[in-house]
Assembly symmetry: C2
DNA sequence: CAATCATTTGGCGATTTGGTAAAATGCCTA
DNA sequence: TAGGCATTTTACCAAATCGCCAAATGATTG
């Protein structure tokens, strides 16, 4: 694998890695509807606010979400709505595997 | 978030996590063309064979690839070819971010 | 059966991740 | 400007991940 290919795979992996956590998937799904501030998300998730803030900063540094400070609150929204396809892709695999399990158990 | 939703997000995250590594993305891309045995992949990747084997077992336990032993070799192929969409999804984000960086530097 | 090749498994050190608490920062209002 | 709210950052710990080596396993061949 040459340097250019390697860089490409690393760039992709960075995005995918940012999505590789249940809480972050939830956040992205939640932001699909509309923007939310950190405390709204924290309420929905039920973890420490600093934990949620960290998850958001991971999503932000991957370029998946963007933030906007309005007054004391920081609102987050999807920067790349195409990221929602990740859930569909993942669901396809989940479904395929589940179907096969069912088949095996017959 | 209720238990059912949580389980769904965890299942998705498991698949996505399995894809969240440059080497595993490379393997999946390589298997898109045709099945390969472990030593072929090892040659292409240039890591220790045990490392490659471990990456393959992660992909396998996520249901992304399947293996078949033929003689002394084990051949791996995509179980869910739809997994290739992950690269497209990731590339979309990479492209969007890159475009924006360019815009900012003008 | 012994030697060899392909692969997997177990174990080790180094690094990264995920979560919380506490401190720091920034904004708003009295 | 003092106090309070929203958020981020820092420090710290436990757990997970990554990569290699060495040993174990399985199949093939002489």
């Amino acid at each position: 694998m040459n340097a250019k290919s390697l860089a490409r795979f690393e760039a992709r992996a960075k995005i995918i890695k940012a999505m590789a956590h249940p809480t972050r998937l939830f956040i992205v799904t939640e932001l699909a509807g509309r923007e939310r501030c950190v405390c709204e998300l924290t309420g929905l998730i039920g973890a420490d606010i600093s934990t949620v803030s960290k998850h958001l900063s991971i999503l932000k540094s991957a370029g998946i979400v963007e933030d906007e400070k309005r007054g004391a609150q920081v609102y987050y929204r999807l920067h790349c709505p195409c990221i929602l396809q990740f859930c569909c892709c993942a669901d396809e695999v989940v479904k395929t595997v589940a179907k096969e399990q069912l088949e095996l158990s017959k």
